[in-house]
């Protein structure tokens, strides 16, 4: 074996230990709730808790709404920028990157200041309003990933020519967007959706400061008060993320198998 290859294997080994060992330890610890034997007691305890089901369901719903409304914002924007306003693309890319450089806590304090109960738009004055604000804040957080995923998918198709072809056949804007463009950027939409799901399910700052019963604050609460259940919850959270990533891989592989040639 060549020295360079041996070095590569050693690097991979160290990397694997760095990532995998803590995970194995967490899984192992989550199974040790019953004294002297491995069991799924911690998982059973987590799943039997009403608060788990409520917060998990709430975050799932928020993630779904974030994906739907986020895509309704991102797809037409990316489409319009590619078709009509390519000169403002750097500006839009810069704006979509802002949530990566502005801490979530700064964004949420901004929201609280802008939309508190004594403002012109008092979203935090009601539960529904706060839920709407939370979805909007999740859309902001997932914007860098959603926009890039959709924009990359649009780069793979000739948006301008497809639009003109549809127009010459009599189609209006809604038909073009939903029948000709949207289905052809579905791989990007799904990639963005899975990343958004992973982000929203583990998000803490926004939900905690807006005082909503989301999964992130629940994870923190359990982690502060219990021993084995936090490990079980961490494994569940990891599983959700991995499932999302796995689905993302499946979608991109499916897309490669059927390339969108125009």
């Amino acid at each position: 074996m060549k020295t360079s290859r041996l070095g590569a294997w050693i690097s991979i080994g160290f990397g694997a230990i760095y990532f995998v060992l803590p995970l194995i330890a967490t899984v192992e610890f989550s199974l040790r709730m019953r004294r002297g034997a491995y069991s799924f007691d911690a998982y059973a305890s987590v799943f039997s808790e009403a608060q788990f089901r409520e917060t998990f369901g709430y975050s799932m719903l928020m993630a779904l709404l974030t994906i739907v409304f986020g895509m309704l914002l991102v797809v037409p924007t990316a489409y319009w920028v590619r078709l009509r306003l390519p000169q403002i693309r750097p500006i839009v890319e810069f704006i979509t990157l802002l949530p990566l450089v502005i801490p979530a806590i700064v964004i949420v304090f901004g929201y609280l200041r802008m939309y508190n109960s004594s403002s012109i738009l008092p979203l935090t004055g009601s539960t529904t309003g706060t839920n709407i604000l939370l979805v909007l804040s999740y859309i902001t957080l997932s914007l860098p990933y959603m926009y890039r995923a959709v924009d990359t998918a649009m780069r793979a198709i000739d948006v301008r020519t497809l639009t003109e072809a549809a127009e010459s056949l009599g189609a209006g804007w809604a038909t073009i967007l939903f029948k000709c463009i949207f289905p052809n950027v579905m791989s990007g939409v799904l990639s963005g959706a899975f990343i958004t799901l992973a982000i929203v399910m583990g998000e803490f700052t926004m939900a905690a400061l807006l005082n909503r019963p989301a999964f992130g604050p629940y994870l923190q609460l359990v982690g502060a008060n219990r021993a084995y259940e936090p490990s079980a919850l961490a494994v569940i959270a990891f599983s959700i993320t991995w499932l999302s990533m796995g689905l993302l891989q499946l979608v991109s592989r499916f897309h490669k198998a059927a390339p969108a040639k125009s």
Partner: protein, 353 residues
Amino acid sequence: MAFLELANLKKSFGNTQVVHDFNMQIEKGEFISFLGPSGCGKTTVLRMIAGFETPSAGRIAIGGKEQNNLKPNKRNIGMVFQAYALFPNMTVHDNVAFGLKVAGTQATEIDARVKDMLGLIKLDHLADRYPYQLSGGQQQRVALARALAVRPQVLLLDEPLSALDAKIRVSLREEIRAIQQKLGITTVFVTHDQEEALSISDRIVVMNAGRADQIGTPFEIYNTPATRFVASFVGTLNMIEAKVVDPSANRIQIGDQGVTLKQSVAAFKAGDTVSLALRPEAGSLAESAPCDTKLTGQVVSAHFLGSVIRTRMNVGGNVISFDMFNSPGVTPPAAGETVTLRFMAADLLVIRD
């Protein structure tokens, strides 16, 4: 009144004017080709007809109805693009049916029309395939069927053969022409390939720097090019500089050899320089060749091109190429040899700049 009228069309992008005062009248059922090099404005004119570009000035009318203020989706114009532009998420059937569905046509009518169209392009057996499962030629035929399915008033073809290989290009252009003649649809075809334009058009518009240099039948364009640009762009042509000797008698001089032209040079003065054009196939070295004009010069080179031998000769500083058909009895002239080129004076054309 012409079916498709383009009157004083102008188009500018910023400070750059890409189309200058373009005028054209196209009759119903005509097949017109816009021929020119890249950047000459041919695609811009096509896109203005389709509604994808707004004219800076001028008028576009189809069947007497002004189109300038109509959106592309209200013009009932079929368009075929260079990049095929089939919808990747739809099957061949759904692609062809798209325009009909948008128009709210009944399902039974859609199925019948799609079947007709796929029969027309001989791809009815591929109705369930997706675009990525088709070859380039098949995709372009589907794009043609899709454009024709909505029974457009005018069919626009924007370099539809450019992305295909040479053999497919020839067969598909013949297929396009046959379908166009069968349906009698008014068609505008954009190309930079002179052979394509010459072979399938009723008339050709040769475009140069945003202007129509010449509009005419393929025969007229090839045999009597109106400008130096048309002469040099369409086919191979010898450009010969000559001196006017006697304008009233159409006498000119090439080097030190006098020639009487059939075309008038009355607009010139004695001593003026005039540009003449001569096709390589118009001249012959054979003594038996029918001719009324001769030029003598020295052979510069002779190239064997398979079916023909192209010889270049120097006549008073002008290098003139001419073609001889290859046959076992023909011996190419050697470089430096003095030869006499025989041709008809009518083939020597006066070219304006």
